[in-house]
Amino acid sequence: MEKKLTRREMLRLTGTVAAGSLLAACAAPAPQVVEKVVTQVVEKEKVVEKSVDKVVTATPPAKGPVTIVATNHLDLQAWEATAARIKEQLPNVTLQLVSTPWGGGWGAYADSVITRIAGGEQIDILAIGIELVPLMTSAKILRPLDDYLAGDKAAADDYANDIHPVLWQMPQVEGKQYGIPYAWNNMVIHYNKKVFQERGVDLPSKDWTWEDFANTCTKLSNVNDNENDVFGYHCDDIMFMLQPWYHSNETSPLSADWKDSNLTDPKIAETLTYLQEMIKSRAMISPQAQFDVWNQFVAGHLGMLSAGRWIVPFFGSQNFQDWDIALFPKNKGDIRSVVGTHQHGITTLAKAPDEAWIVLKEMTSAEQNISQMDFIGDIPARKSAAANERFTREGPGNVDLWYGSLDYAKTIPCPVNFNIVDPLLRRHYGSIWNGDKTVDQAVQEAHAELQKEMDALKG
C-alpha cells in the first residue's frame, strides 16, 4: 500500500540516515508545500462573485506592496513597454520578469521551471508550451482563469474577437481555461525557390499530394557525396514536427482522447514507410542525422524543409529571401498542418492572483504581441498582430498562410505524459530511419512500450 511521504518527513529520514541531529540541523528548510497552497486558493475561489462586470476579486486586493514574478523564454527587452504599462496600472506591484533559458527547447525550459517550482520558488505567471499544460494542470500548478474571464467582459470579448478559436481552445483542460495564448506555431514546408529553378522542378501547388511531394524530392536531390550535393527534404522527428505527416494521412500516434497508443493503425506504418523510402533513396535527410539544416537550406544544398515560422528571423539575418511556404501535401483528408500555442497562465502559487490577472492581460495584449516580434519568430496569437505590417513585411510571398493555416491544422496531441511519449517515439523512429529495424517491427515495439506508459496514467 502506498503511504504518502511529506517532504518534511523525507528530509527527516535523510537527516536520520545522516546519523546525527547536527547534520539534520544543517538541512535546508522544506520547500513550500504545493498542495497546501492549492487548498487555500480553492477556498478563496469559493467566494468569487461571477457576475460582476469588472475584475473579479478572488482575494481582497493587496494593500501593501506586492511582488509578481513572471517567467517565460523571451529576452527581457521584449517586455519593456508592457512592464511600463503594468507599472502605471499597478503602482504598488513590483513586477519581476525572469527570462528562463530556452536553449534546449520546451523540454529544457520545463526542466528549469519545474525544478524551481518544486524548490518552492515564487512564480506567479508562467509561460509554457501547450505540450506541458496537461502536466501542469494535473499537478495543480496552473489555476483556471474562467472566473476572471467571466468577471472581465471587456477582456473576454477582446480575446474572443482577436484570437482564433482553435488557439483559444488549446489551453483548455476539461472545459476550463488554463492559459491565454500569446504566440503559436504551425508546421509548413519551406522551399528554396532558387533550388527549384536550378533543378527545373515545378513549385509546390496548393493541392499537392504525397505522390507529388515524393516526385519533387527525387527531382530536387542530386547526391554524389561531394560538395555540390543537393538534398530534397529534411524533417525533424519530434512529435510536433512529424505530426503534420500523420495528420495528412488522417492518423496520429495517440488515440483521439490521447489516452491510448494508436501506433497499430496501419496508416502510421504507411506514413513511416513513405518517409523511410525517401530516406533510403537519399532524397530526404534522415531526421536524426547531424545536418546543418538551416544553413544548408540557405546555401542551396537543401530544397525543402519542415519548420514553423521560428526560422524566419534566421532567414532575415542571412538576407535570404528566395523562399516561400506551402502546406504539407495531402494523402487522406484536409488536415495538413499542426498547431501548438505558447500561453501565459497564473499559478496556484500566486499570492496576489488579482494583480496577476491584470499583469497577465497586459502580457497577452495586442501591443505586447507586436512588440515581442523583434525577439521571437513565432506567429502572434492575435489576429490583429498577425495582420500588422511589422509581421507581414518579413514575408514570404504566401504570408497569409501563417495565420490561414489554422483552417487546415489540428492541435498537437498533448497527453499528461507528453514528456515521456515524445522521446519514446523518437527512440523507435531512430531505428527505422537508419534501417536497423523494419517499420512494422519498430512500430510494434514502440506500441508495446507506449501503451504501457498510457496504461500507467490510468492507474
Binding site: 535523510t14 540516515v17 544543517c26 498542495e35 542525422a289 547531424q290 531505428s431 530511419w433
Partner: protein
C-alpha cells in the same frame, strides 16, 4: 585561590582568562586548536554537506519513494528496486557504459603513454611545448561546444570526415546515426578530448623517474627495450594505477559527450547510465527511480574502485 603549577598552569595561561570556579580552564589549548581547525574547514565543509552529502543521502531515501517533483513524494517501499530487475533499457545503458569504460581505459592509457613518451624525447623546447599544448588543449575546452563541432565533422551528409573518406572511395558512414557506429563515435570523441590529460599525467610520471637508474642500467649493458621493460614501466605503475582509476570513474560518468553528439541514439545505442538517470529524473520526473539507478551506479563504481585498489598491491611498484 589555588595557585596552579606545572603543565596545567602553562595550558591555562595559554587559554587566557577562561577559568571555572575550581580554576580549571573552560577551553584547553588542545580543544581551542580543534575548534580553530573546524572553523577553518567549515567554509568548504558546509557547501560540501549541503550540496553533496545531503543530496546523496536524500537520494538514498528517495529510492523508496515515488517523487514526481511537482507533487509530494509517496512511500512505495522497494518498488523502484524491483523495477530495476526488469528494466531492459537500464541494462542496455550499463552495457554501453561498460564498453565506454573498457574503451577509454585502453585507449586513454595506451595513447596517453605513447604520446607522453613521444613528447618526452629530446627535441627543441618550443616544439615540445607546442605538442604538449596541442594534445592538452581539447581537454581545456568545454565538452558540449566541442561535441557540436564533432557532430558536423561526423555528419553522414556533407560531413567533413565522410568527405575525406569519399576522396579515397570509402563511405559514407552513418557515424552518429547507426547503431553500430554511434557508440564508437562517442568513444572516439571522448578519447580525442581526454587523452591529452592522461599524456600530461604520464609525462609527469616519466619525468619523476631518476635518470641515475637509466645510467646504471646502461652501464650494465641494458638496451632500449630492457630499459623500458625493467625501469620505465615498473616505475610508472603508480601513475598508471591513478590513470586507470580516474579513467574508469570518468567513463562511468560520461554524459555530455553522448548527449550532444548522438543524443543517446539511435534508440538507446549510445545512451549511458548517467544519461538514463537524467532522463528519469528530469524528463520523466521520476526522481525515485532515477535515485535507484544512481544507487546501482554508485555500487558498481565503488566495487570496481575497491577491486582496483586491492588488485593494485600485486602490480603497482612504489620506489
Amino acid at each position: 585561590m589555588t595557585q596552579l603549577k606545572g603543565p596545567i598552569a602553562a595550558e591555562a595561561s595559554a587559554v587566557g582568562p577562561g577559568r571555572g570556579e575550581a580554576g580549571q580552564p573552560f577551553i584547553t589549548a588542545r580543544v581551542q586548536e580543534r575548534i580553530a581547525g573546524i572553523l577553518f574547514v567549515l567554509p568548504s565543509l558546509l557547501p560540501l554537506i549541503t550540496f553533496l552529502l545531503i543530496p546523496i543521502l536524500a537520494s538514498f531515501v528517495l529510492v523508496f519513494a515515488d517523487y514526481p517533483l511537482l507533487t509530494e513524494p509517496k512511500w512505495i517501499g522497494t518498488a523502484n528496486l524491483e523495477r530495476l530487475f526488469s528494466d531492459k533499457r537500464m541494462l542496455m545503458t550499463f552495457r554501453n557504459t561498460a564498453l565506454l569504460v573498457i574503451g577509454t581505459l585502453i585507449f586513454n592509457n595506451l595513447l596517453g603513454l605513447l604520446l607522453a613518451m613521444a613528447v618526452n624525447r629530446k627535441m627543441p623546447r618550443v616544439l615540445s611545448y607546442f605538442f604538449r599544448t596541442s594534445f592538452f588543449f581539447p581537454f581545456l575546452t568545454t565538452t558540449a561546444s566541442l561535441a557540436v563541432v564533432w557532430r558536423f565533422l561526423l555528419a553522414q551528409d556533407r560531413g567533413v570526415l565522410n568527405w575525406f573518406l569519399s576522396q579515397i572511395g570509402i563511405g559514407p558512414f552513418q557515424w552518429t546515426t547507426s547503431a553500430q557506429l554511434a557508440l564508437p563515435s562517442v568513444l572516439m570523441y571522448d578519447v580525442w578530448k581526454t587523452v591529452g590529460f592522461f599524456m600530461i599525467l604520464y609525462l609527469a610520471g616519466l619525468q619523476a623517474i631518476p635518470e641515475s637508474l637509466y645510467e646504471a642500467a646502461k652501464i650494465d649493458g641494458a638496451n632500449s627495450w630492457q630499459l623500458t621493460r625493467h625501469i620505465t614501466l615498473p616505475l610508472l605503475t603508480p601513475t598508471a594505477f591513478f590513470c586507470f582509476t580516474i579513467s574508469c570513474i570518468g567513463a562511468f560518468q560520461i554524459f555530455d559527450n553522448a548527449a550532444v553528439l548522438t543524443g543517446g541514439g539511435p534508440g538507446d545505442a549510445s545512451r549511458t547510465v548517467v544519461m538514463y538517470i537524467y532522463e528519469n529524473a528530469f524528463r520523466r520526473y521520476e526522481m525515485g527511480y532515477a535515485s535507484a539507478v544512481a544507487l546501482v551506479l554508485l555500487v558498481v563504481i565503488a566495487s570496481l574502485t575497491v577491486v582496483q585498489f586491492v588488485g593494485s598491491k600485486r602490480w603497482v611498484h612504489y620506489e
